[in-house]
Amino acid sequence: MAEYIVKENALKDFFKALTEGGKRRFLAPAEVSGKLQMIETDPEKVSLDFGNTHQSPKSAFFPQTEKLMAFHKDTAKSDPFVYKPLGLDETAPMVLFGLRPCDARGLVVCDRVFQNNRFTDPYWKSKYESAVKIGLACHDPRPACFCTAVGGSPFGEAGLDAIAFVRDGGLALKTLSAEGGEFLKGLSGLESAEIGAELAEKKQAAEAGMPGPLDQSKVAGAAVMEIYNQPHWKDTADRCLNCGTCTFVCPTCHCFDIQDEQNEKGGLRMRNWDTCMSWLYTVHGTGHNPRPTKTERMRQRFMHKLKYIPMKQDGACGCIGCGRCVTLCPVNIDIREVARQMNG
């Protein structure tokens, strides 16, 4: 593990160097239409002073609309009507700077959905494996932040190749993985330094004001049906609008809907984000809907985050505490409240 600093006047050089002379796509928090987002941006326009990006960075690896495969209908050519995969071979690798530690943990949750011992999603894998992920620790967690409540930290290291924090207008960095160490070695703008003590001190300071662990022991121990049949779901569902905002901004929501579109020239298969809050999500061809009302749909989301993902991912919580759903829910359904009700 190597430790570096980047002086304020060397920041731009450093960001440019991260693209490895244009070989990598550079993604960082930058403003787009008045909102800070993790997007492909000019190294000149990176923002270091922010709470978190408006949307989660999952779209870098799992875009809202992603083309999977296509075919053409030109019978003069040798391969009409044959589906060919798209975008697996020539994707330029990415470097992400400024991932908040909560979001990096969110990517780890998604990664285990898209790559596990049962199957591997090549579209996720081709982007995720080759990406270098540099985190930016939170000195100043926002009012709705609760990463510490679900096992994270504003200085958390999971899922990151290196972590940085802002220091005198510049950066201090610590590499976390072998790939990160290899990647950063010798990049322009970096100076070797000892930052370990400072990092530990800042971590403690940032965590000090944050909420303590959310007790999920009973949820972990209970049978699925026991939680499933709890009476509180109906009360929360009363005010849920099933609008799906929570799922669209969530860093660990990963459901998608595969759609085909075609015209006279050819056809395209793509996947689009979907939301379990939608009636359409579960409706069958027969018209039967196993989740007929908003109560079942809302329960599904919380059960998935707080029970099913922990069951499938060795206890890791499906909520990483970024607070986006809490802030953006139009009717203030707070996952912390629901988690407490589920536990007790």
């Binding site: 083309k67 296509a70 075919f71 053409h72 050519k77 040798s78 391969d79 060919k84 798209l86 975008g87 579109e261 075609q262 015209n263 020239k265 050819g266 056809g267 395209l268």
Partner: protein, 148 residues
């Protein structure tokens, strides 16, 4: 000839304009062949989404035609339709649809001459607007590598 030939989707009421088109045909009144007709039981049946769908799928123009006010087979279908058209027409022009793309008319089944005249007018106006690029869905970008 390289002149642009517009594609127009026409929604005709079964009880009047559809008959007028038929009468124009048997009367050997010639009119341009640029529109494809969708027969409706009444203009009141026209859901505004049909119009947007036609544009979205690449129609260069849309023409809706029904019975004269007061002559509706279902008594008031076209009166109700007229109110919807007023709003829809206003909204689409306000968001930037060329005024020559969307046409409405009342043509009874006896008015073959009016049908011929309006058909010509609609086609010419849509032709003048050129191909629909702003209200259609983008071409599918298949992104396939070239194969011989």
């Amino acid at each position: 000839m390289s002149e642009f030939e517009p594609k127009i989707v026409a929604f005709f009421c079964n009880w009047c304009t559809y008959g007028a088109a038929d009468l124009a045909g048997v009367s050997r009144l010639d009119y341009p062949p640029n529109f494809r007709v969708v027969r409706l039981p009444c203009t009141g049946r026209l859901n505004p989404k049909y119009i947007l769908e036609a544009f979205k799928r690449g129609a260069d123009g849309v023409w809706i035609s029904g019975c004269h006010p007061g002559d509706c087979h279902y008594i008031a279908g076209n009166y109700h339709a007229r109110r919807k058209f007023m709003l829809l027409h206003h909204m689409l022009e306000a968001v930037g649809l060329e005024p020559g793309r969307l046409h409405f008319s009342w043509i009874s089944s006896a008015e073959a001459n009016k049908f011929q005249e309006i058909a010509r007018e609609v086609v010419e106006k849509v032709r003048a607007c050129g191909p629909n690029v702003n209200f259609r869905k983008a071409e599918l970008d298949l992104g396939l590598p070239e194969v011989a």
